[in-house]
């Protein structure tokens, strides 16, 4: 079977699914952030695949470049915050951070 668009979309969808699973089930803050990275990669793969198979041009790839860049900067901030949290709470388990409750 010829590898086509749908194959790539499927890979991206699986990545997206695993990413969501991470976010929904993980307790470790970094674990959740790994899930976010997976989702971002899923979206990026989608963009490149769509560009390759459908639209042509460069806009899809450009978008992906920005996704990668911003993911990196976001990760930097996120990890700095994780360290802050670890310093103040001595834990990074998301469900143990309960200073503020309704």
């Amino acid at each position: 079977m010829q590898v086509g668009l749908v194959h790539y979309l499927t890979v991206a969808a699986v990545l997206f699914g695993f990413g969501m699973l991470c976010i929904m089930t993980r307790r470790h803050a970094v674990g959740i952030l790994l899930g976010v990275e997976l989702i971002l990669n899923a979206a990026a793969l989608n963009f490149v695949a769509f560009e390759h198979f459908i639209s042509g041009g460069v806009s899809g790839q450009i978008f992906t470049v920005f996704i990668i860049t911003l993911a990196a900067s976001e990760a930097a901030i996120a990890l700095a915050i994780v360290l802050q949290v670890y310093r103040t709470h001595r834990t990074v388990m998301a469900d143990e951070l309960t200073d503020m409750k309704n």
Binding site: L33, V36, F47, L97, M100
Partner: protein, 510 residues
């Protein structure tokens, strides 16, 4: 594409508000490095205020030019950004909000500017300016890439701002939750964008709109893939306006962040989120309430989100004891009211949202300012119990707070009532069963909201103070509070000029 689409160089002429802010950013960084002592902080405040005011007035100038018909609406940078009255109006609002927050933040110790060593002040104001730049870009974006980028500018900096307090458990915790939710929301939004890109082969939202309209006309209904893409995008934007079910970060972040940042986050990004939402649904989805006599999925989804947002916000706010947290939930509820206006997808709804945003900016900033002033004198304690007897301890502050709270409730003769009135009027103007249900839920919610706003009023006036000493407030804060309360009252009595001005300006240019 637009007939007035300027290339990169030509666009610079119409990009001065943003350039002013960028120059401000650089100037603040340099000044922060070369000066010391009190001069450092003074200089920084002056530079930031100057760049914001320049930005605001330039936007006003552009707006006046456009209203006078001297400059047409056009696209900048080859179609990436829109240059239309709609964006000018929002840019003015952002300049105003950011300027207020700067006045607010400069003597505050939470941000570092008010401490003895003034550590972190330079960074604080730099970041505030960068967020404002991001907000400006958000409201101008008419391209998925620019929407994503500008949203990310705002998000990334907001994460930092939320965690700005040194070694503060709540601040760090709030920031972490913010980052997690923010990352997830932008991821989901990107995923949705990629589907939209796939179906329309373009990042330009106008082009996407054409494709969606075509596909809808062909199928007789909205194709599933488009629905999926748009719903995913709603996730990202809903997170920015803290609409349910993407609101979970809001209370923690608002409670943990420095109060000035809370005030900013509750107004600026929310307004920008609404601007993007409106522009995307008008240009990119071409949404209407009814199609072929049936309710469109857009009206359905937006209505459901609006109802959920209001209800969650109001009912959770009922049993909060921390005032910042309570106001956080109230800001969620207000996003819900504004979404009601969004549900009708027409000019009147837009006007209602815009007017509501203005009044909301006034009263919410004011309320947070009072919170900051009271908390500062109570050693950072933000409990509602600290408001006991405020009416006798600081009459002016208490009256202003009462004005803001009643305005937030939506009682005449305060501006909040007029905002709500326009929202409900826009719903009933379109009419139909769904809108009547939405309006009914809306007014019920507004009754519920009285409970928790009145709790603060009760604490201020009906409860005896625990501490009888007078509570003083800095002159700069006091003046700002009054400056926000006066229009809150005045706009409730005579709002015609402002409303008409907004009506004239709320054109999304193509």
């Amino acid at each position: 594409m637009n007939s007035f689409s300027l290339d990169n160089l030509q666009s610079l002429t119409w990009f001065f508000p943003e350039i002013a802010i960028t120059v401000g950013v650089i100037a603040v960084i340099i000044w922060d490095l070369i000066s010391a002592g009190l001069n450092r902080i003074r200089g920084i405040v002056v530079i930031t205020l100057a760049s914001l005011l320049t930005s605001g007035f330039l936007s006003l100038a552009y707006l006046m030019r456009q209203l006078a018909g001297l400059t047409p609406s056009m696209s900048l940078f080859g179609g990436l950004l829109a240059f239309d009255p709609f964006s000018h109006l929002f840019r003015m609002l952002f300049a105003f909000v950011a300027a207020i927050v700067i006045v607010f933040a400069s003597p505050s110790s939470e941000t570092g500017a008010g401490t003895r060593k003034r550590r972190g002040a330079g960074e604080f104001f730099t970041l505030l300016l960068i967020i404002t730049l991001g907000l400006n870009l958000m409201v101008m974006s008419r391209n998925l890439l620019m929407i994503y980028l500008s949203l990310e500018v705002v998000s990334v900096i907001s994460f930092v701002m939320a965690g700005f307090k040194i070694d503060n458990r709540k601040s760090a915790e709030g920031a972490l939750k913010y980052v997690i939710f923010g990352g997830m929301a932008s991821g989901i939004m990107l995923y949705g964008m990629s589907w939209l890109f796939g179906i329309s082969q373009s990042l330009d939202i106008g082009e996407i709109g054409n494709q969606i309209a075509m596909a809808t006309a062909q199928n007789g209904r909205v194709p599933l893939v488009i629905l999926l893409g748009v719903v995913c995008m709603l996730g990202g934007l809903g997170y920015k306006i803290s609409a349910a079910p993407f609101h979970m970060w809001t209370p923690d972040v608002y409670e943990g962040a420095p109060t000035s940042i809370t005030a900013f986050l509750s107004v600026g990004p929310k307004a920008a989120g609404f601007a993007v939402l409106i522009r995307f649904f008008e240009e990119g989805v071409k949404a209407t309430t009814h199609y072929d006599g049936r309710l469109t999925p857009w009206a359905m989804i937006a209505g459901l989100i609006a109802m959920a947002t209001m209800t969650v916000g109001n009912f959770t706010a009922l049993h909060q004891s921390n005032i910042k947290r309570m106001l956080a939930f109230s800001s969620i509820a207000h996003a819900g009211y504004m979404l009601l206006g969004f549900c009708v997808f027409d000019q009147q709804g837009k006007q209602a949202i815009m007017f509501y945003l203005l009044t909301y900016a006034l009263m919410n900033l004011g309320a947070f300012l009072v919170v900051a002033a009271v908390a500062e004198r109570n050693g950072g304690n933000e409990d509602i119990a600290t408001y006991n007897g405020l009416g006798s301890r600081s009459p002016v502050l208490a009256i202003m707070m009462a004005i803001f709270l009643f305005s937030l409730t939506g009682l005449p003769p305060f501006a909040g009532f007029i905002g709500k009135f326009y929202i409900f009027a826009s719903l009933l103007h379109v009419g139909g069963r769904w809108n009547w249900i939405l309006a009914t839920v809306g007014v019920l919610n507004s009754v519920v909201s009285l409970f928790y706003y009145a709790r603060v009023v009760r604490a201020m006036y009906l409860t005896k103070p625990d501490d009888k000493r007078a509570l003083t407030v800095r002159v700069s804060w006091g003046t700002t509070i009054v400056a926000l309360a006066v229009p809150t009252l005045a706009l409730g009595i005579y709002w015609a000029p402002i409303y008409d001005f907004m009506t004239a300006s709320l054109l999304i240019g193509r």
